[in-house]
Symmetry: C2
Subunit: 726 residues, 2 copies
């Protein structure tokens, strides 16, 4: 038993044999220890290779910050999901040239278009265990807040030091809730260009209707290229930059795929909560998700109403709506899964098992109970103010203009500090260029009427908060209007805010971005004033959160170590946006009695679903070729037709989008772009019966490129033959 | 080629080998000729046996008038669908004894309850080819109207003659649109009693949500018993009656069922339209079904609104709502299928094939074209008044009180005629007792506010009819109110109708049922007066229909004979509520790319779907036994659990409900109770890939009877062992 002892993770990984192979998003360093399993499942590479982040195949896997991707040519060509290059399509689209609908293909390098100003390619170059440096100096007598602050400070210092040489982005990430800290170093490539995306009717075939669903028929893929300066170092976008030459790139495969085949998924999954306590699962099920659903529905209702009959407004709100809808559907599905699969009960059972295990040693049992008890009290403290804190966060989602005001105000405040380490995370010197980009980028999403209607609704929500959880700043601002009645007060406040702000004006915002606090104050912008007042609560909430984080770092590793013991050491950390490898096999599932969802879909489904109208509007050329069954060598010999997608027992989460699905030889067999509806609770509890990842089949990608879009230049660049005439 | 020659059908059936076996609802007499196919599919009985309607197994198959059923004991026990005994449950339910929700089991004969007064069991005893008698005397020079009238008259005479001995119900049915006339004689058993039905949470598990759907988990079965007088002859309900002793009854089987097994379905399918022309299919797709959908939605909206918050109103309207919803879903599904499977295009293609065939013989081609042309003109004539005629029919659906008024008025008029053969069909002497029962039965469905709201909506619809299709009687009645504006006129008319009618009063209606026309007139009932005026249009429409029927009888057999030739003689007639046998096998299907619907469902699905609330509210005892996996010998050895339902490639239509699904030995393996959503266009065009019939598995029926409801008395009566203690 070592659940209560700190054990450096990289040294301590040892696995019991025969355990379910599918659940983990493993750290690459954990893979060698899983080699026997992988070999048995058909792996033809050396499992040890996965621990080498600069070797093959991991050296080809990159992060786009929020999406995963891979190099597929020696000259910096990157394949990822269509929905990961969507922003670049949107950014370059004009009324004359509808790149979103029609897709885009650069037939020469010169035709490639700049991706979003914020687009980045991060190539992980090193991982280092820095746990001792971070936690070594921590005194047991520290307050939780102080503990969190010291950890923050150490991390910031370490990152600054790491990034000193320039062109690098570093992060210190916590694994197993602070049991392990790793410093991750990545090359930050800033000149990213859009190379190719199929038409929306391929890349987003099915859109929201099919989102989170299997069987799926979406060709969710697209291509970027990474550019660097002539010296081979990252550089800002410039015409004379040259393609980045990665050390490794992956081959996109046309090999046959069958149920049972091994699939390895390499990418940057965002966040999972599989190692939290049952109590936290219950809070999520009973409060967090239902509340988020309610607020999303409220805001979506407003945005849809605002856009009714107004195409311009619809376009401005499209991205906000997509993001709200996406997780609305996710949370609904998650709650459904919780209910159907009794996920909370499963979690409770596994905690009961843990307790029984410790019951055999009264001393340990007592310690475990004490930790659980203390953790439980911390959660109760959060619960007491969660109505207020949740709604506070939604004010900024409801009003992008308020969010911009907050960004500008905080930028001024933080920049005024002299010690960069004292600056809030995301407001350090290293963040300024990105934040400035954000100010520019957000211009496309600002729509004053929608903004006001959204803020109105959520300010009205604040007026219904229970006593003890009031947002006093809002209460005061409403009272100060002198109007009679809540509705009138809200309208008066909004009149004041929207009548006295320049938040909708990009030039004004950019000027304010560079303002000192004093200069900003003197502008007397009403929205900035409101944001400044609201920050008081924001700071209180952050302090709360830090206190919780300090306690968490102290307590949670001990809870997790207990789980690891029960699993005989075979435990993957929760996802945290760092490079991971999952593995499993191509496999059907039975979503309900009498129904089987097969492991592969075919072009037949595209033809069946196609209605000629969004979201099922395949390009005419695709339909014609498909009707004529002109699939060339891309057809699947067993299916007897063109494969489109497949599912694997690997599991993913937000951020995994674009992850390469590697076959046993380490070639790209497909790209992960979604998970299935039935497996959607997997961020919390994995039910192996249902959890699947949805991949677009590489053969479909190549057929579309070759036959439909004639992207022959790219196929040649990728070292692949061309089978269709232009 | 003999498409243009009349060929007596019973003699002329000869089949080509190797043709698809599943599409037909075969006349029993056609089965022997299909013997080789059946033997190959596994039949262990003599195929010739199916032509003997009084032998085994056909002698056990009965009609309930609208539902199919079978004798399962020597003492008149009948098994059918739960939804076929539903009316009897409703009829006997009281506030103290909720038979609908709880189900019902008579543990002794004395506890059995009378079914509805209109309940009947029809035991077919003879079929005779009477084509020569009906069509022989018809002169080619007759007008179409006269032709139809003569056929009607011959049929009526034949029926009266047939029914003379008493206790019999005879009908002369047209097959292949008048190519063949058969006289069907059935024993009419009038004392029908409710013996057993499981709880609603079994018998109607899933209700509307699952209706027309597969995979399915409904235990849609129930039991009646047929009683006769002590002399063995049919008699009105009386305590001293004795159970009917059928010549044959079927065994309910616990044998294993597997995909690929032969299934024969014996029952009384109502109506199909598979032999109509493509033009008629187009009319149905483009006008009839969309219009019916629109009117159903209109009326349903009204009925739901009327019932809001009023349980009493909901109950009164429940049956109307169920019936409107049922075909609303059907029509929506049919249109979806038409669209998805391009059923009209298939039909058009097969007509093109026909034409090509005739193209080789110019003389025949010309005749065929002439017939098609004439038929087409007839259809155009119908089309010119279809808005009016369709809406006319809906007035009576909208207002059950108007329908009652019509029934009473017509009863008076027709009874006044001295020659029974001159009386309208359904208003002959033989129909009076049943019609009187209808007057009684309808009392439960009359709800004045809903009635008025419904009639209001449809009268408003009549005001929007195009010129040339006006319902003049309604126009005149509205104008006569003297009110200003359409809405006011409608209200005034409704005030007059509902203020001056006794249609909601059962005693008054029963008295009127016996009134002479004159006596009825003198009562001055406003609704009867309105119905009488509307009859003028009704009569015109009936004359139109008769004219069409006469022409149809003259032309359509020739079109059908052409189809038969193309199918090398292997053609089943369209369903017409007569006894039919279909056959096929237990088989899965793929409703769409990547999805397989398995051929069998299990108790797992019941547990998964159960929510504890309608319509997924299994009885607690069922859930407990299922959770404990106490299935006894009813479990399926391959599935490893209790089977619930299965699908077969046989096809069905309305009226097939309760049809026995026989295994290769002629035992009951299940009961058909629905068809699948994907196959729903099969009334028009059969797409073998999708069309399936949904059966409840006999093993599920027996497990429910044995383990859940303890219907051990019935199991013993059926000669089956009991495996569970009470």
């Amino acid at each position: 038993m070592r659940w209560n002892r700190y054990v450096p993770m990289l040294a301590a990984l040892c696995f019991a044999a025969g355990v379910q192979a599918d659940e983990g998003m493993w750290m690459p360093q954990q893979i060698p220890a899983l080699g026997d399993e992988l070999k048995e499942m058909g792996l033809q590479l050396d499992p040890g290779a996965f621990a080498d982040l600069t070797g093959f195949p991991m050296g080809a896997i990159v992060s786009l910050g929020g999406c995963s991707a891979a190099f597929v040519s020696p000259t910096g060509l990157i394949v990822t999901n269509h929905h990961c290059v969507y922003g670049a399509l949107q950014y370059n689209a004009t009324p004359e040239r509808d790149l979103i609908a029609d897709g885009f293909l650069a037939r020469t390098r010169e035709e490639e278009l700049p991706a979003l100003p914020t687009a980045r390619v991060y190539v992980t170059t090193a991982i280092e265990d820095v746990t001792a440096t971070i936690t070594g100096p921590l005194d047991a007598g520290l307050s939780d807040l102080e503990r969190a602050k010291r950890i923050d400070r150490s991390r910031k210092q370490m990152v600054r030091e790491c990034e000193k040489p320039g062109d690098l982005r570093c992060q210190v990430s916590s694994f197993f809730a602070g049991e392990l800290y790793l410093k991750l170093t990545a090359l930050e490539i800033k000149d990213v260009r859009l190379v190719y995306a199929p038409a929306l009717g391929i890349g987003n075939f099915g859109d929201e209707q099919d989102n989170w669903m299997w069987p799926r028929h979406t060709g969710d893929f697209g291509y970027y290229r990474a550019y660097v300066g002539k010296d081979g170092k990252p550089a800002d976008h410039a015409p004379h930059n040259v393609p980045f030459r990665p050390q490794h790139h992956l081959k996109v495969s046309t090999r046959d795929l069958d149920p049972g085949d091994l699939i390895l998924l390499a990418g940057y999954p965002g966040t999972t909560k599989r190692l939290v306590t049952a109590e936290e699962v219950r809070d999520a099920q009973e409060y967090d998700m239902p509340t988020s659903i309610r607020y999303r529905e409220l805001l979506l209702g407003i945005l849809y109403a605002q856009g009714e009959g107004k195409r311009e407004v619809q376009i401005r709100n499209a991205s906000r709506i997509a993001s709200l809808e996406n997780y609305l559907k996710n949370f609904r599905g998650t709650l459904e899964a919780f209910d159907r699969d009794r996920l909370l009960q499963r979690k409770l059972q596994s905690e009961t098992l843990l307790q029984e295990q410790f019951g055999r040693n009264p001393d340990q049992a007592q310690r475990y109970a004490a930790i659980r008890g203390e953790f439980s009290r911390l959660l109760a403290g959060q619960r007491a103010v969660r109505d207020r804190d949740t709604l506070y966060g939604w004010l900024y989602r409801a009003s992008p203009m308020l969010a911009q005001a907050d960004l500008l105000y905080r930028t001024g405040v933080e920049r005024a500090k002299t010690d960069d380490d004292e600056r809030d995370e995301d407001f350090q010197q290293r963040d300024w260029p990105r934040n400035r980009n954000t100010v520019e980028r957000m211009q496309r999403e600002i729509e004053i009427n929608s903004d006001r209607a959204g803020l109105r609704a959520f300010i009205l929500e604040t007026t219904m908060l229970p006593p003890g959880q009031r947002i006093e700043v809002v209460d005061a601002a409403l009272a100060a209007t002198g109007a009679q009645g809540t509705e009138a007060q809200v309208e008066a406040l909004l009149d004041r805010l929207y009548g006295g702000t320049k938040m909708a004006d990009l030039d004004a915002r950019l000027a304010m971005f560079d303002d000192s606090t004093e200069a900003l104050r003197q502008r007397g912008d009403a929205m900035i004033g409101f944001a400044a007042a609201l920050r008081l609560l924001g700071e209180r909430i952050e302090e709360q959160e830090k206190t919780f984080a300090g306690a968490e770092q102290r307590l949670r590793p001990q809870l997790i170590a207990a789980i690891r013991d029960m699993k005989q050491g075979r435990l993957a950390p929760d996802a945290n946006s760092t490079l991971r490898v999952g593995f499993g096999q191509i496999k059907e599932y039975a979503p309900r009695d009498g129904v089987v969802y097969e492991a592969q879909t075919t072009i037949r489904g595209v033809l069946d679903k196609d209605t000629g109208a969004r979201p099922f509007d395949s390009p005419a050329r695709l339909l014609r070729l498909a009707e004529q069954e002109r699939f060339g060598p891309y057809a699947d010999p067993d299916l007897g037709t063109l494969p489109v997608g497949f599912i694997s027992t690997v599991n993913v989460t937000g951020g995994s989008s674009g992850s390469s699905a590697l076959n046993a030889r380490g070639e790209i067999a497909g790209l992960a772009f979604d998970m299935n509806w039935e497996g959607i609770g997997a961020d919390w509890v994995v039910n192996e019966t249902y959890v699947r990842t949805v991949q677009v089949d590489a053969r479909y990608m190549l057929w579309v490129m070759d036959a439909v879009d004639g992207a022959h230049n790219l196929l040649r660049e990728m070292g692949l033959p061309v089978h269709f005439a232009q």
